[in-house]
Symmetry: D2
Subunit: 316 residues, 4 copies
């Protein structure tokens, strides 16, 4: 691909230990590059990659996609505009539960030599990137990692976060199941972080809260379109976290989407409906809701109109 | 379009008073048809459309897209499987607030001759369709409509739910701003419905609750991926509405999407990131997060590893 | 009691059909009166009671206690101060589920001759009173009642909302299980109401939402101390319902309670602790948490202090 | 008091540095003792107090009242019954915001010599006690404290969490504004803790989450009566945190309170109403709601009955 002239961009989505080689080759070939995170297995590798893209003057990005949630972009703007004032606290949790079963197999994500780390690099890395995006650079930290289940049956990922076990053989888990750390940022913010794959009931609980001198914000990926904001100078008695549905023209990116309150993802309801329609055509059955439903719905609508005018109950 | 052989499907998205003519012509030409809702302005028109699609044996659907929210499909399955038992209550609200400003202009949606009705046909119709999908057919009803702001400046829709006023001239609002009705269903369920465009703070609050003999469910479009379910036979002391993130392989359609907890719409965070990347290439600037961030994030990751091993604070 | 000079106040908590006789006798004896709601079984009875207290110039109240929730009093103030502007909608639900079991016996509350009505008078009456308190007088209404379970085993209330069945004999339920109605108020507000004892999972869901020209409020008894408020003139992009914990000096009554955020009921945590202490003294065992816990907690506190100073992990 | 025969119990609510002397004297006098937390300023003092109560065989408790929230007692029971299995995570935040204003004065709670510590001992101590109650003993920890505002005007507490400033003079804050620490428990649980008085919008956010092998729980003092519980063995597709209103006979202590859903604190709505009644008698005015409201409410109730029977709108 690197040799082809009609390819301008390389998007690296291969396992973590292959990123460096690909990225450096792509940079040398003058390709712009997007890389999945983590960028590399070590700082040294990452620095080599960074040197390569700088030297060859290609554009480069890393897929920390959570920066690009409209609510998160809006928080960034609030902070940059000074709406939260001096920041005191950044408090992040990234909690999942997909490997809690001790029989979940020893997939590549649980081997240090392939994935670099466990919850730390896979999900904790997102919290770290969000912290750097919103708060600034880290100054110092202390933390600890934990591996709750130390041996697992050998097996493979089969798609998504699902996996298949391969039998009775077991192997050692060489990455962390969970990590917790405390940090201070250059600007004096106190940060607390926790990432875990052993937090039952938390499917993808990527959330944070920021407390500043003038205001606070809360965000949670499981309700991605929502944002909670508190302002210290709201009228006494009427102070409280505002639950904002970040789906308005005032919010980054979503002006290009749907009317307010029709959250991102609304479009997929139509896609599912069209899927059903296409299936109906291909498999020759009549899907619903259809024109018969249209007639019946219309009868209800007219009955309401009639009831409103006559002030009577109307039978259907 | 009707004369073209390479077009198999007609999707009707024109104003409501044009649906019937287009649909009948399309049916006569043997095209499969999807129509925006409401199907027509009157029951009579709707019936003619239904006759046409039946006569010409084309597939037909109406865009009541909310039926195709994964959580709603899952509720349908729970009801069909008897998990809620006999249904006692269906309680629906569809609340918006986009025309509360008395200076919002008299757009086509506020004129009866073009749109047929106001909140009733625009949003109440969705609640009616959801009720028919989940509960069954209506038996009788009583209701009332209300127009809170009776005159508005003349003006036009300019996209989405936004509009532009045209000056000082005013005209009469001929549709309802809100509607409330009570219904009984064929199966004995008691239904209560309210639709309004005057419910401040409710951008698109399309929600319902169903109470049955064995369980209850709650759903709300503003948090589309969530579903609340209560079961009467849960252990005493541990009974409560379960907040389910309908993003698992067990839920309709979403098995084709992301890992659990990564809600529908998650993909757009990548789209926004790519948009930024493309903009960076076109306008020749270096977007973030990029490889420099990758290096800095990696340094934090390594510091945590080091702190975990040495049990010491680590400076960055 | 009426003849005693040292009794100034009569508090009527007997079954509904006895209120009138007691109240009239108490008024004639010059006693101030508080009555449980509903005041009487019929308007005629209620009017006689009202005439009696007016004639004898005694103070009188009816126990619509929900008016006296701090959050509700605060809503009243917001409305009176014009903070919500013209009111468009009042939307109330009072939902319970304590008689859903068909074997729940035919207690006095389910007999019309004793209780007057079912969900309507027992819980719907609270919504009606809240509506009159917050919105004003009713102008007209239409509604319907429903009895889902029409026969039940004979039995009695045994305390709270619990009951005991008496055997195989069954009797007819003569009150409503649920009621729904739509109303217009004198001031033009559109009201929707629903009260039910068949709404599974809703133990005591007494809630309402008010939508006005300038703002909206939401309240729910199950989280009594909370209040949600939305203002139309909040800054665009930052509009959302504020979740207010009504426990501050700014909120009615609670200035006399605890520091903000320590909700009403906080005091009972101490009462439970004291209960345990007294039990320990009486039954001669040593309850927890005790001074041993104080020592152990103190060791943790000192370890944190030490860790903070030395920047080291500390063992306990 | 110590010399009086008719006093059996001493309840110590004086400033923290006086606890030891009082407790030891009380123990020597054979009095049972309840002490406010923290027990003492140092472990040494605390141990002397503990020795004294053991030697004199008096009962002793420390006011960690949050153990006695019904929901917390119920969590303890779930853990003891093995319902959560092996515990992986304990995650506690105790967040307040009452001293964020830099002009809030240097009250005794901000002086180390009187109060021992700041957020750590005042509120972090509650999280520590809850952790020991629910999880077990601490094994090791690492943490850090922070004082964001280092100087404040001299002043005094004037009640509750309010205070009055005394002028222009300033003094040094000698306690922590915030503390964060990570801990391991004897049983292998990983604990994360944060306590702060600088978390804007969090009036009294005392909350924790526990993740175990078989289930998870969440609790938050601001909605004290609620409890969230997740079970790993709930049916796939129907797994989610259950929102339980801990107000049922199945939950500790609350069987002695109100019907389910009438949360602790419900009784105060009656107290406020009675307060209004008494004020009406004393100040000679007629409070509301009163018998006139009873009549008007009854008219609405009868109108609904009539509407339900006649299937007509009814005017009032």
């Amino acid at each position: 691909m690197i040799e082809r002239d009609d390819i301008d961009v390389i998007d690296i989505v291969t396992p973590n230990h292959t990123h460096a080689e690909i990225a450096i080759a792509a940079a040398e070939a003058g390709k712009h590059i997007i890389s999945e995170k983590p960028l590399a297995l070590t700082v040294e590798e990452a620095e080599q990659m960074y040197e390569a893209v700088k030297k060859h003057k290609v554009k480069h990005m890393i897929c920390h996609n959570y920066r690009y949630v409209p609510a998160v972009q809006y928080i960034k703007k609030l902070i940059d505009d000074g709406r939260l004032g001096r920041i005191y606290h950044f408090r992040a949790n990234y909690l999942q539960d997909w490997i809690m079963d001790p029989n979940f197999p020893l997939v590549w994500r649980l081997k240090k030599e392939v994935s670099g780390s466990g919850a730390l690099g896979d999900i904790g890395a997102h919290s770290i990137d969000l912290a750097r995006f919103l708060i600034g650079e880290f100054k110092e930290l202390v933390g600890t990692t934990e591996t709750f289940i130390k041996e697992r049956p050998i097996g493979e990922m089969s798609g998504g976060l699902k996996a298949q076990s391969g039998g009775n053989e077991v192997g050692e888990v060489t990455v962390d199941d969970a990590v917790a750390f405390i940090a201070r940022f250059e600007n004096g913010t106190l940060g607390t972080f926790e990432a875990s794959r052993f937090a039952g009931g938390n499917r993808n609980k990527n959330k944070f809260e920021i407390n500043g001198e003038k205001g606070s914000v809360r965000w949670d990926m499981e309700n991605m379109n929502n944002l909670e904001v508190f302002f210290q100078d709201d009228e006494p008695g009427l102070q409280g976290f505002r639950l904002i549905n970040c789906t308005e023209e005032h919010h980054p990116y979503v002006g290009a989407y749907w009317p307010a309150g029709h959250i991102i993802g609304y479009e997929h309801t139509f896609i599912h409906l069209i899927h059903e329609f296409m299936k109906g055509i291909v498999e020759d059955y009549q899907p619903t809701p259809n024109f018969e439903d249209g007639v019946k719905n219309q009868k209800v609508l007219e009955a309401i109109d009639q009831s409103s005018e006559t002030k009577q109950w109307v039978k259907l």
